[in-house]
């Protein structure tokens, strides 16, 4: 047994294994890129780069491959074991060791980003303020009092708890502070609501004369709008109320329970900003004689944090960075505004705790390689000098 472990460790720390892993990363990148022709970038990323295993069919037959997540984990193991076990510890190999540590540091930064970073969009009209940003891919259900004042507490159900629901299944949610239970049932992966036709039997239930129609899934998964039927059960009276949740709904359904009006909101997952952004002015330049082609657009905003206001200009290559958040100028609308129609600016917001780790990793790798190459050069010069003498 110990001999098997020795062989295994030898293999895991070997240079040959590192080459195999790097080759697998190349293959996954190649196949993933080809798959984007038929599938959206989000689905391909999930399938090839955020999975442990993938069954690829790019070549016309099923080919099982390790996913990029597994490959990167093994690469990290290889770097750590290879750095501890294989090299003989001497000052002459210090540079190589430092470079390896830098690569491990970079991989760790990516892991931190994968686990903890959030990305979304923030849309603000002129003279309006923004305090939170929304994901373009992930969903959540928020439950809150509809008629209450501000600030208000929202109770959140993450998408992992409801998005995997299959037809015929249901799930009930209960919050200790909520006077009702929420049951989701009859899910539709990509839904379009329509008026129920009394002459035909709908595929799904009818609520208030409206039913959900199932439509084909979009290539880009973020374009799908899921739908659910929801039943709210008052825990004290047992009274039930039914409604429909739809990802593209203009307003959430509201109902009465515990003497208050409540809303259940199926929406894109949103996160709060630790500061407020007010859009003071949006400027949009169009290429002359191009009709409508954008030349540049930028936003004059005021960042308000703890009562302190700071004017900032956010443009295409000049984002706003504050408290670990980065706001990039992403887009604007409406694309063809009528006179007096309010315009809005859209910012891409990224919160990445490991934002600076790649930079530090590169510095460490550079330092390690500099040390290594300097040592090699010095040794070469010394050897050559001795040889000539």
């Amino acid at each position: 047994m110990s001999k098997v472990l020795d062989v295994l460790l030898q293999f895991l720390s070997s240079f040959g294994f590192a080459c195999i892993l790097l080759f697998l990363l190349l293959v996954l990148t190649f196949f993933g890129t080809l798959q984007q022709v038929d599938y959206g970038i989000y689905d391909v990323q999930k399938k090839y780069f955020e999975s442990l295993f993938v069954l690829d069919d790019t070549l016309g037959f099923p080919l099982p491959l390790p996913g990029a997540a597994l490959v990167l984990v093994l690469l990290s193991v290889n770097l750590i074991l290879g750095g501890i076990l294989r090299p003989r510890f001497s000052w002459s190999r210090t540079g190589v060791l430092v470079a390896h540590l830098g690569i491990v540091f970079m991989l760790t930064g990516n892991l931190v980003k994968y686990l903890f970073a959030t990305e979304g969009n923030l849309k603000i009209y002129e003279q309006d303020v923004g305090t939170e940003y929304r994901s373009g891919e992930h969903w959540e259900i928020a439950v809150y009092q509809a008629g209450g004042g501000m600030p208000r507490r929202e109770y959140l159900i993450p998408e992992g708890d409801f998005l995997g629901l299959e037809r015929g299944e249901s799930v009930t949610f209960r919050g200790e502070e909520l006077p009702f239970d929420i049951t989701l049932h009859d899910p539709v992966a990509n839904a379009l609501p329509r008026q129920a036709d009394p002459k035909t039997v709908p595929a799904h239930l009818i609520v208030d004369g409206v039913t959900l129609r199932s439509i084909p899934l979009a290539k880009e998964s973020e374009q799908n709008a899921p739908g659910f039927y929801v039943t709210v059960t008052d825990r004290s009276t047992g009274a039930r109320q039914h409604d429909i949740l739809w990802g593209a709904q203009a307003y959430p359904p509201t109902f009465l329970a515990g003497g208050a009006s409540w809303a259940i909101d199926l929406r894109r997952q949103c996160w709060p900003l630790p500061f407020t952004v007010r859009l003071d002015k949006f400027t949009h330049e169009i290429h002359p004689r191009s009709g409508n082609k954008s030349k540049a657009f930028e936003s004059d905003v005021t960042m308000i944090d703890s009562g302190i206001e700071r004017p900032v200009k956010i443009s295409m290559n000049a984002p706003l960075r504050h408290k670990g958040f980065t706001l990039f100028q992403s887009s604007y609308g409406p694309q063809d505004p009528r006179s007096n129609e309010p315009v809005y600016s859209v910012f891409a917001v990224v919160n990445d705790p490991a934002e600076d780790m790649p930079l530090y990793a590169c510095i460490v790798i550079t330092a390690g390689l500099l040390v290594h190459f300097t040592q090699r050069l010095t040794r070469y010069i010394r050897t050559e000098s001795k040889r000539r003498v």
Binding site: L156, R174, N340
Partner: protein, 403 residues
């Protein structure tokens, strides 16, 4: 620490370098716990198939909510065009000389005023306090290059009637720098009315803006517009003084043409019936007794409300009964309701309900009363024995409706 020799295996080298790490590396029992612990923790979130809601957050951002809206309205399917209600919330009288423009995502009402391209009036609704009176007034002042108002100045502002309460009126004049073309416009006048306050479910902003020479004469029309604002159909009680109205208030609305005013709909319920809490889309809900499974409710929809035939067949479908042809529907009995012949529907069967839960031996009594601009629906549903016993009470209740 002695250097490990090349001939020693990797495990031996590791043991030399980090003996405590080696011990932890190769302890299978510890590994089993590490694997089992997350699984056990994952199972703790559920009990009896119910998932606990454990995450919450305090937010200060307003959320757009349309209280009491039907599913069709919320989902953008409203088949009947709302009569000047702007997203179905309100109705109003359009002052003379004002041109109504399409509503936008930020403006539930939108007008060009006095025929001038730069003179506009619009209505916005924000949840909660919408930022507060002082903040909004001072933001408007800033747009007109004016200094902030003091608390004393804010307290002395005039108020005007708007939606059954007094709204704060602001009149400002200055150089406006907030236009889309970014060009400062001197001699600009802004008249604003803010309806809301602490604890209000939402705050309404009416704003009149444009060249002072055009806006000043429009002040009486603006006040008239604000006074004419009323709650539209199906808005649940959320505005103080509005009450649980079931239609537009009197004075200029479409209902006045037919003589039927949904907001003044009255009825006489049988003495034994018990009133139940208000529900969205319903003018009133009753039950034959406090603990009864049966319910009877009244709903008023604008226009045809989907049509008599469509609604009757939808009710029949809920009861598992086949649809009727137009001829068969014409042959159904009728009763006098609100001065009109209303179709009476009686169906027994298995009630599918909206949650898909089937209830056998149920009965539905329904009345569809189609008026020129509204449709009134009265529906009673419950166990067959209960509803059958209440048939005469149901008909009397329908015939008692008046406005």
């Amino acid at each position: 620490m002695p250097a490990a020799s090349v001939s020693e295996g990797p495990r031996a080298r590791l043991r030399h370098l980090a003996p405590h790490l080696h011990g932890r590396f190769f302890r299978p029992r510890a590994a089993c716990v590490l694997v089992a612990l997350p699984l056990a923790l994952a199972a703790c979130g559920e009990s009896d198939g119910v998932v606990g809601i454990t995450s919450s957050r305090v937010v200060a951002s307003p959320r757009p909510v349309l209280l009491g809206a039907s599913a069709a309205e919320r989902l953008g399917l409203n088949p009947e065009p709302a009569p000047a209600t702007g997203a179905g919330l309100f109705a109003w009288d359009v002052p003379e000389g004002w041109e109504e423009l399409p509503a936008t995502s930020q403006r539930v009402a939108n007008f060009r005023v006095g025929g001038h391209p730069e003179a506009e009036c619009y209505l916005s609704v924000l949840s909660g306090t919408g930022g507060g009176l002082a903040a909004n007034i001072n933001r408007w002042r800033q747009q007109l290059s004016l200094p902030e108002a003091s608390s004393a100045e804010l307290a002395s502002l005039e108020t005007i009637p708007m939606l059954s309460r007094q709204a704060t009126l602001v009149q400002l004049q200055g150089t406006y720098a907030g236009g889309p073309d970014k060009e400062p416009r001197a001699e600009t006048m802004l008249v604003g009315a803010i309806h809301g306050g602490e604890g209000a479910p939402f705050t309404i902003f009416a704003k009149l803006l444009g060249p002072a020479a055009v806006i000043a004469p429009q002040l009486p029309a603006f006040k008239q517009f604000c006074a004419s604002l009323r709650v539209a159909d199906r808005l649940h009680a959320g505005i103080e003084g509005g009450g649980a109205v079931s239609g537009t208030s009197a004075g200029g609305g479409p209902g006045s043409e037919s003589g039927f005013d949904p907001s003044s709909l009255r009825w006489k319920a049988p003495a034994s019936w018990v009133k139940r809490p208000e529900r969205a889309m319903r003018s009133v809900t009753y039950a034959p007794a406090a603990e009864s499974e049966s319910e009877c409710y009244v709903a008023v929809l604008g226009g045809a409300g989907g049509g008599r035939e469509a609604n009757i067949n939808r009710w029949r479908q809920q009861m598992g009964a086949p649809p009727l042809s137009d001829t068969e529907i014409e042959a159904l009995p009728t009763i006098d309701v609100l001065g009109s012949r209303a179709t009476l529907v009686e169906v027994t069967g298995t009630y599918a309900g909206m949650g898909g839960e089937a209830k056998g031996q149920y009965m539905m009594l329904g009345v569809v009363c189609v008026l020129p601009s509204y449709s009134v629906f009265v529906k009673m549903i419950g166990p067959e024995t209960e509803v059958k016993a209440e048939r005469s009470n149901f008909i009397a209740f329908c015939q008692s409706l008046e406005s």
